[in-house]
Symmetry: D2
Subunit: 345 residues, 4 copies
């Protein structure tokens, strides 16, 4: 990793938002209980409950996204059930088989711009039970989606409401992966609030790692005791922090004085600026989305040229001469970096 | 968790050693690659290889102890193999079934002061293969021990050498859990160095969480490629940090200018002082050990009295009127706290 | 395996009771549905429900004992729960880790003549919840016992009733492994009927493989829908027979005209006769039990001598000069064989 | 299941080929060792080795297809590997998640008439390693195919040779599911012998359950010790028969005097006759294949009419008015039944 180049390769290139580090510093020598029973974690939980308008919510702080997905999904599904996900979903492709390691099949549905649709889920479930042979098959046991999606796209409130309705009709818990949730919440196009998510989903997580924390994801079960013994399940899955407060302090800070919103806004403003210039200059977008990830098609020559001074994220090859590159902004993106990038493009 | 009381309940009551936090601060806005491919992690690996005199070692930074044990054990064992451990071992009792979740049985052997013996392992393995029926049983596939043990005791170099020899005779990889390794290394009684461990074991981890880090354990495989694809296995087990540098920076700091040794020394000096006074005052030790955990028998009245001002760790009940309490010191233990404790005792 | 020698090495040395084979022959060319939806399986279920006085029972026919134990236990336990068993229990020792393969820990309790006691279970569970740390441990989630036990001993009705009571107080499903149940039911000492078992247990299986069938175990859940989707769980565990009728026909035959009782009686009469003579001749029993397995201590010379004409089952070495051998009788044991054995002893 | 109707719903409607039952009868009272160490199993192994021209092959007798697939795949794959299969493969769809229960992902590739192609496998593997991110993904670890396929189609020798070559280039073990292998071997169109399969594959099974046995599948590993400890793995997976001879006797019989070939021929001759008449009468085939399963499109009225006297297997709905039905022939299909069916069509 070069110090000379600037990088837009991902949204987890730096440490943590300075306010978080400062808070860790200020509280460092206080003695607290372990495993999340400390006062900071309690305070963070109270603030998240309020932000979600979910006063009874059970909240747990885990370490990373794949770990969180595997632990929550494994905790919810029964033995012979699988999880419905978009075929582009993180659990479908990029978790090295963590869901299968827990004994469960991912049931992929073709995506629409990275998203599931209520109709698609409904058709899948009805088709499953229409098949006379379904007792020999993995039954759909829950639905996984991500907001924003792996393609950076967003579910509208209408879409999420429809999906939630279909899930409840079929008694399928709905789980939302919010690894980059701050960046969804900060978009002008977004009309889905944390309270909406808490009302429409049975489980979700508010991402920390990619939204300004050193690490950490806050799992929220809006209904109390929705998953009994989740604490022990996190221990069994290697997801329980001895110094639970380190996650608690980070989330407490992110949910104080609107920091989580601010983190999102910084990234989205930078992304919008970049998108505007790219559009003006006639660049081709591999997909349209309003969040902090921009996917553009570049010639390989352009890629090589850029690579000297700005690192972008390689996404995939299009053909011999072209590839898709990702430009990711974050809470840490500076105007200076944006200007330098735009100059190069 | 009371702010008024001081606590000796565990060695993970505070944040991190100030040098670690400072380093996180100083490096915070640098951009680096994710998943441990950053320069800090590389630097930490180089320093650990040197400290272990293991120039070819593969080194990975994971998050916590249970996660590390489960990931390493699962990576080493074959389908129908189990891990030999003391019946008091952390993997036997206090990991909520994480080893079994990975499909493997823990094969417990009665402990001797928290320790396995070479003779005990040898007898177990020979007994196993003497039984005509062993093809219907879980075969011993590796050996797990902890240094210091869960009882705070230490393996001597002679003991560890003998165990290593038996393991190699039986082709059983030897894995050492060093959750509190800094406190072992700092004991006067200790004659086992990091280089000895690297020479005698096939895998081990150098504990960070309980030895001054915010979190983090450094897994060392002294022989290169001893476990192929361990990177992907950590991802699958939810043990891969996106911001891998956060662990790397911490270990790089701990292995700079003798910090890891210093952390251990602080704790052991405090523990030795406490032990000395306790002995003078005629307290009964539940078990003798030279490390940072002191287990004493107290009357329940004494416990109640102490609890008002000093928190100790409850270990177990002895009888109606007595219990065993743990006094744990750490890198963060201050003279002031020690004096206050001794005053109360 | 010698054709010249006779063998008492186990109770699964021959094919099937002739009535079973005959029935398979008679029904062979009939066409039936697969997977246990055939009329023979239905008829067998009806007869077993009647014999168990459990009109609502769900009944499934599986293939073998280890498979049945793993499937039932896995179906009942939650993620972080384990199964309490005697340390001599089949699931504890001789199933090659099948329970752990399913993700669950066996929680062994020291046996009393191969048996659990109500007091032992109660103490274990209370001790578990008394430990402040139990959220980091595998919780007891059910109780496994075998009737007869691996030592050939029997639970009395009083003992089983007490165990059932303790289990229900602690909300622990009670599961009985009846691999050799026919031999328990046929003992004079036995006072536990099939109806008692169905009343006192939440799940049990009636053994076929060791009691005269080619293979097959009948799993009984006395309460309807005690384990939802058990059919699919058997499929997932590789325990579902395509030609389910082959198991159904066998159980239908065993539960017609008292065949299952008769099978047990043949074995027990032979065992009682052997035991009587052994006692007269002053042989030392390794353990006392009233069922079809006799465990005696022999000198190694005697073993070698016997081995020329009668095969016994090696159990374990006692010391340099002595070992424990098993004499097993079965539905297939003939008077002629018994007489020849007794002549040799 | 009606006794009045005749059925072509599947190829496991009856018991076993009479020669098999007779042999079980004749050997019934012989005493043999358990777990497949008997003389019949040894004899069957010798005959299969000869038929496969694989003198060093390791051979194991398991009970059913799903169990066999799960056990073999789990035994071959490493932790983070998955199995490539056609998206129509039995392991992909109809095993209730047995592969995932063992911790592994099925990696589906779009089928061509139910088949994989060498080019498709090659492209998948190359694409996988071309993706920079593959360390976060499940790696292809072996290839699964079935002969005949779930659609009744056959791999030609040329196709299987090409697939084997690609697998060996990529170091991927090739596993062939021969649940209905007898019916493949008996087709005029077939040019793949058992010896070819043994030469081109690393593991395969010769189906018994659907080819005339009561139950049983013979797993063949052409290279000795290709999977160490497979015996214990079968025990752990609940796939080890106590009375192993029951499977051994069946396979010994099927591989004596060409019975396995004869079983296949009976079914194929019946199927060819039915296919010929259907073609003449202008019926539409849902897919073309030369084996014992015929898939035709029928109007729902025709289905209802047929159902009164002949049971066919429902496959899937095409539209409101049409569905695909399966006609399966077997070793047990009689001319009389075929004539009755053709009369009805």
């Amino acid at each position: 990793m070069s110090k000379e180049r600037i990088s837009f390769a991902s949204d987890y290139l730096e440490g943590a938002h300075p306010s978080i580090l400062k808070r860790l510093f200020d509280t460092n020598m206080m003695q607290t209980a372990g495993y999340g029973f400390d006062e900071f974690s309690e305070s963070a939980r109270a603030k998240i409950r309020q932000a979600c308008e979910a006063p009874e919510a059970d909240i747990f702080f885990l370490v990373g996204g794949t770990q969180t997905n595997a632990t929550v999904i494994d905790a919810i599904l029964r033995l012979t059930e699988g999880v419905i996900a978009a075929d582009t979903g993180h659990v479908s492709l990029h978790e090295a088989g963590a869901i299968e390691f827990g004994g469960h099949k991912v049931l992929p549905i073709p995506h629409q711009n990275g998203k599931l649709t209520a109709a698609g889920i409904d058709a899948y479930v009805k088709g499953f039970y229409a098949d006379g042979n379904h007792d020999h098959m993995v039954a759909p046991g829950m639905v996984y989606l991500s907001q924003p999606t792996e393609y950076g796209t967003l579910y509208s409130l209408k879409e999420l409401t429809a999906i939630s309705k279909v899930c409840r009709e079929h008694h399928l818990p709905l789980y939302l992966d919010g690894a980059r949730l701050a960046y969804a919440l900060a978009c002008r196009e977004n009309d889905v609030t944390l309270a909406d998510i808490a009302r429409l989903c049975d489980a979700f997580y508010i991402g920390g790692t990619k939204c300004g924390a050193l690490f950490g994801e806050a799992v929220v079960f809006p209904k109390h005791d929705f998953v009994p013994h989740f604490f022990t399940i996190t221990k069994q899955h290697g997801a329980l922090l001895a110094k639970g407060r380190i996650a608690g302090i980070q989330f407490d800070t992110m949910f104080t004085d609107g920091l989580y919103e601010k983190i999102g806004r910084t990234a989205i403003e930078a992304a919008d600026k970049i998108r505007g210039v790219l559009r003006e200059k006639g660049y081709q977008f591999a997909m349209e989305n309003p969040t902090n990830q921009i996917f553009i098609v570049l010639t390989k020559e352009k890629c090589a040229e850029l690579a000297k001074e700005v690192e972008l994220g390689f996404w995939e090859n299009v053909d011999e001469g072209h590839c898709v590159m990702r430009i990711a902004t974050s809470w840490a993106t500076t105007e200076e970096h944006v200007d330098k990038l735009l100059e190069m493009l």
